[in-house]
């Protein structure tokens, strides 16, 4: 049995690489955060926002509406700088609670600059409706292959339109 275990160890040591990498050919190496990944991580953490609605509902205020919150995912994966982009709640304490919770969100460390993200908290009768997408501000990549700055006049002259 010892020999068998040794043989298994040899298989795993060489087949999986000495750093324990098990990534398949198609997988990303998690150097950066993708939008679907950010959304999935948001959905995992969404229960923490439900207390804001529960509080509001318990206070006898049945709410229907949407609060669009923007925040930044720093390179260490922690959310920061949350602010209300738009609100239809009419309840300041609810909005403040959502901001407090948004600033506690954690994603994962990544190699990009801090990412600006927007998420609409949609609720009906004090029940939050998970939103099927998250809005990630994309970095514009316009003129490529030339060492030229992001100059609108230059873009107009070269790209036309």
């Amino acid at each position: 049995m010892t020999l068998l275990l040794l043989a298994f160890e040899l298989v795993f040591a060489q087949g999986l690489g000495t750093r324990g990498s098990v990534a398949t050919d198609a997988e990303e190496l998690e150097l950066y955060l993708s939008t679907p990944e950010i959304h999935a991580m948001m959905m995992e953490q969404i229960p923490r926002f439900e207390q804001c609605y529960a509080y509001s509902s318990a206070a006898g205020r049945v709410t229907v509406g949407e609060v669009f919150v923007n925040f930044t995912i720093a390179s260490d994966g922690k959310a920061q700088g949350a602010y209300i982009h738009a609100t239809k709640s009419g309840l300041e304490d609810l909005d403040a609670c959502l901001l407090d919770q948004a600033n506690t969100l954690e994603f994962r460390a990544h190699d990009e600059e801090p990412l600006e993200v927007g998420y609409p908290f949609v609720f009906m009768d004090a029940v939050m409706q998970p939103y099927p997408m998250i809005f990630v501000k994309e970095r514009p990549i316009e003129l490529l292959w030339l060492r030229l700055p992001a100059d609108p006049a230059l873009h107009q002259a070269l790209l036309g339109g």
């Binding site: 690489g17 050919d25 990009e112 292959w145 100059d151 002259a157 790209l159």
Partner: protein, 279 residues
């Protein structure tokens, strides 16, 4: 029950497993990922005409640009692919630029960015994954893509005084419709060879083609490259690479009818650092 009892079943299985274990070639993983420090002087000369053949006024401010770059770059083993190619994470450390050799130096957005470089042991680069995070102003990773060749040159095995040709290809894909494929055809000469190190010189030409569908542009690259590479014999790692590369990127914008040509000239070196990156 065979005469050897359970061992009768286990011994053949053991040898099968042992054979499986030996199938993937052992990966030469360095103890700590190597780091190279680099210093580059770059100058860019740009000219362009519009559809009517008139000079593009908006380019006037950028006809002559110069910058100095310095920083570090590391390479860590990540994985082996089914075709036996390997994945390496190439990560920029702090990268600074300055308008002159004296400074003032400022951090660039290339700092901290990384890509997965997929290639073979001989230096051939098959793909760069995550290159879109390096591309475009103000990062200009697609202009500086030669750094990946800079730390991973395809070097022939030559005796002292011998010469040989090598071709090195590398792609830069921002997306399927935004890509460039470059090639260096170079003649290499082994200038010195000792049990510890090999010094090789090279001289050759650069070629490339690409397309940028969103910009309705096609690109043609041409140029010359020369340099000297010092390789460590023990682990075939690159100690130092000094280079002088000039390439001309000609971009044809079909949408506007504009044609722009930029001469990109780089002189500098990559030097293996005593400081290793964190594994």
């Amino acid at each position: 029950m065979p005469p050897l009892g359970h061992l009768g079943y286990m011994l053949p299985m053991f040898f099968v497993l042992l054979a499986c274990a030996a199938t993937p070639a052992p990966v030469a993983v360095p103890e700590a990922p190597p780091v190279w420090r680099f210093e580059l002087a770059a100058d860019y000369q740009t000219e362009g005409v519009d559809a009517a053949g008139e000079p593009i006024a908006a380019l006037a401010a950028y006809t002559e640009q110069q910058e100095w770059l310095r920083g570090s770059i590391s390479r860590s083993y990540a994985r082996r692919y089914q075709d036996d190619s390997q994945g390496w994470v190439v990560r920029f450390g702090l990268v600074e630029s300055a308008p002159s050799a004296e400074g003032p130096w400022s951090r660039t957005e290339l700092s901290g960015k990384s890509v997965e470089l997929r290639g073979f042991d001989n230096g051939e680069v098959l793909a760069l994954r995550g290159a879109e995070h390096l591309a475009g102003a103000p990062r200009y990773g697609e202009v500086l893509d030669f750094v990946f060749v800079g730390i991973s040159p395809t070097v022939p095995d030559l005796k002292e005084g011998e010469s040989g040709w090598r071709r090195q290809n590398w792609p830069f894909l921002v997306a399927k419709q935004r890509r460039m494929h470059s090639t260096l055809h170079a003649e290499w000469t082994a200038l010195e060879r000792s049990p510890q190190r090999v010094v090789l010189g090279y001289q050759g030409k650069l070629e490339g083609r690409g397309l940028d569908t969103p910009a309705q542009a096609t690109m043609v690259l041409s140029g010359q490259a020369q340099g000297q590479v010092v390789m460590r014999v023990a682990d075939a790692s690159m100690e130092k690479h000094t280079l002088d590369w000039t390439r001309v990127m000609a971009v044809d914008y079909q949408g506007s009818g504009a044609k722009v040509s930029q001469r990109q000239h780089f002189v500098g070196s990559f030097q293996r650092s005593a400081q290793e990156a964190s594994p």
